[in-house]
């Protein structure tokens, strides 16, 4: 069964440094998402991406965050200047139709630790 894959599984970064989290969505999917989950808390929406542009973003997704689909397979989340509170699990998801009609399929996440 096709899967969403994320790399790395664990990223440790110094505060203030830039970090890029990578995702390979399921190949025939058209909608892409990033979520974050702080330890012990619920999964929070960050951003959705469709047709090479952001379609929705939450308040969490401020100017420090950006997303990109640099080629036909990868989908990345960049945090420009990391803060301690950015420490969390970051999940990538994809779906073949819009979120209100079809389930999103999640990767196993990248654990981001900011020191």
């Amino acid at each position: 069964e096709p899967e969403v894959t994320q790399t790395p599984s664990h990223q440790v970064t110094q505060m203030g440094q830039e970090v890029i989290l990578r995702c390979v969505p399921i190949s025939n999917h058209l909608y892409f998402y990033w979520y974050r989950q702080i330890l012990g808390q619920k999964v929070e929406f960050l951003v959705s991406f469709y047709n090479n542009e952001i379609s929705e973003k939450s308040e969490i997704f401020d100017d420090q965050f950006s997303v990109e689909r640099p080629d036909g397979s990868n989908f990345t989340l960049k945090i420009r200047s990391t803060k301690l509170e950015d420490s969390a699990m970051y999940f990538c998801a994809s779906s073949d139709e819009a979120a209100s009609t079809r389930p999103q399929h999640f990767g196993d996440g990248t654990r981001l630790s900011i020191l």
Binding site: K42, V43, S48, F91, A98, S100, P103, H105, G109
Partner: protein, 111 residues
């Protein structure tokens, strides 16, 4: 605003018993709901979904019930197995490209 929450943060059941996990949502305009299962160290895994024009949907050993009158969603797991131990989230979509997740219920199956 939208909010999705769960009544109980933890639930323990004996192996073989049925489990019921509940979820409340606040936005009556929500039209699509999903239950996800999250095992330790993994991402949310799709279990079952239901649209607002339905009251009930059944899958393999799982049933989702939707009560729009009281804005309540439940997940029933039949003959619970140790492999069902996980955190279960409900999520709602509101004619948009994002899901709102609840806090989660941790299900522990006692052998």
């Amino acid at each position: 605003g939208e909010s999705v929450g769960l009544h109980l943060p933890t639930l323990s059941v004996q192996e073989g018993d049925n489990s019921i996990i509940n979820c409340a949502y606040s936005n009556s305009a929500s039209d699509y709901f999903i239950w996800y299962k999250q095992e330790s160290g993994k991402g949310p895994q799709f279990i079952i979904d239901i649209r607002s024009n339905m009251d009930k949907r059944q899958g393999q050993r799982v049933t989702v019930l939707l009560n729009k009158t009281v804005k309540h969603l439940s997940l029933q797991i039949a003959a619970t197995q140790p492999g069902d131990s996980a955190v279960y989230f409900c999520a709602e979509a509101l004619l948009s490209n994002q899901f709102y997740f609840g806090t989660g219920t941790s299900l522990t199956v006692i052998p």
